[in-house]
């Protein structure tokens, strides 16, 4: 009973939002479709794809390095790579733009040293946004991939290597594909893996 009351309180703002769709002004939507919507939807698609690819590449490769390889500083990197969890995306975005924008201190200094024509790639661009979002969200994939690689056991990989497989050989890939997917797809991926195992 109490849960139902609390749940309905939480849902109330969303209900109001959905109810607002009952009063649509068609001419505004037609105007938006012809002017802003295609560009805006295109941006969303570009961002979603770019960030998904970026976090996969970054998260999985970093997880592979810290869980299956040994090098100086690995133990520190193990947890340090999760620190971006603590940074909200908009804070990093402000720092990025504040530091690296045309009028910011970095580019101003570069122009002083190397002449007024010196340019860095534009921070206020799709690429810039993708970079910031990848840097903020890769820890999610990193965490899950790292658990997957650790669970797989180093012993098996080393045994496979002794028997002639390359470090990228068949042993690693199939099972890890199961575990990588939840980082991006969420629940659906996890269900698929359980059935296979």
């Amino acid at each position: 009973m109490v849960t139902a009351v609390l749940a309905s309180l939480v849902l109330l703002p969303m209900v109001v939002l959905v109810a607002a769709w009952g009063d649509i002004q068609a001419d505004i939507w037609v105007h938006l479709w012809h002017t802003q919507l295609p560009r805006v939807l295109g941006n969303t698609l570009k961002l979603a794809t770019g960030v998904a690819v970026g976090v996969t590449l970054l998260g999985v490769s970093l997880a592979w390095l810290t869980s299956l390889c040994e090098f100086p500083g690995r133990r520190w990197l193990d947890w340090a790579l999760m620190l971006p969890f603590a940074i909200p995306a908009y804070v990093l975005a402000f720092v990025f733009v504040g530091l690296l924008d045309f009028s910011g201190p970095v580019q101003t200094l570069l122009r002083e040293w190397f002449g007024a024509g010196t340019r860095l790639p534009r921070v206020r661009s799709t690429g810039g946004v993708i970079t910031v979002l990848v840097l903020v969200f890769y820890p999610y994939v990193y965490l899950l991939a790292r658990s997957a690689f650790l669970a797989q056991g180093r012993g098996l990989s080393e045994a496979a290597r002794l028997l002639g497989c390359t470090p990228w050989g068949a042993r690693s890939a199939p099972r890890d594909r199961c575990w990588c997917v939840p980082g991006i797809d969420g629940n659906a991926g996890r269900l698929r893996c359980c059935v296979r195992v």
Binding site: L32, T35, F102, S103, R122, S125
Partner: protein
Amino acid sequence: MPLVSRVFAGLALSLCSVLAHAKDEVVVYSSRIDELIKPVFDAYTAHTGVPIRFITDKEAPLMQRIKAEGANTPADLLLTVDAGNLWQAEQMGILQPVESPLIDSRIPAQYRSSTHAWTGLSLRARTIAYSTDRVKPEALSTYEALAGEAWEGRLCLRTAKKVYNQSLTATLIETHGPAEAEKVVSGWVNNLSTDVFSDDLSVLQAIAAGQCDVGIVNSYYYGRLHRENPDLPVRLYWPNQEGRGVHVNLSGIGLTRHAPHPQAAKALMEWLTGPDAQAIFAEVNQEFPANPQVQPSAEVAGWGTFKADPVAVEVAGQRQAEAIRLMDRAGWN
């Protein structure tokens, strides 16, 4: 009852009634930030003893909040910027007319609502800022000229989502008609050196850093930046002096329809149009007083005098929807 108790009771009752009367306060919903309005309100409380409580938020949520609160609203006054917003508030039915010959005598008609729903308090010019290193003032003339080929890749603008640009476009439509206005706006968009910025300060910093040579900003942002850095290589230019004049907008205040303290609120409105308050607006905010009898601060006067567009500012509200659609079509994001 013994005499002492009676005396005490009498004192207590009269104290209560004094306190109840002192609860004559004014509640303001303001979209102007704390630092800009607190000095003015503190001065009023020091002058009259009436406390002012206020909250700050963006104008859209404030207006929706007053509308949703309806007859139970604690808000007496809505203080916001841009005539477009004030016109919107009036259309939403959340303001009530205030008949005040005092306000009418102090503030020119073009800076007040034609239905007495609100009055302007301070003015700002949305004008051209240019780089002193790369642009000679003789090369500048009008807002419309910035759409020409000579300025290709040299213009920086703020986002079309900001109401100040919507009002600028609205008065452009009022002056030239929609077809010509759209040509001008398309020309501006074509001349952009980089994507639009989210605020005027970034536009000014981009001009100073060399990312572009000219931009269109509100005068007080220039004032703010200039205060921090007197060597700023950017200056303001007053365009359209041969023609209609510089685009001027305002901050203004209106009495809410269901204000709980209408008399006290009206008194505050009248004080805000008077010389004391107008002088504080001018000094603290680096704006132009709406009351022509009050001089702007020395710093602001140093930017030069100019002819202002005589069009009634509420046009910015009447043509706002049209302006937004025009900006969408022209590709001004």
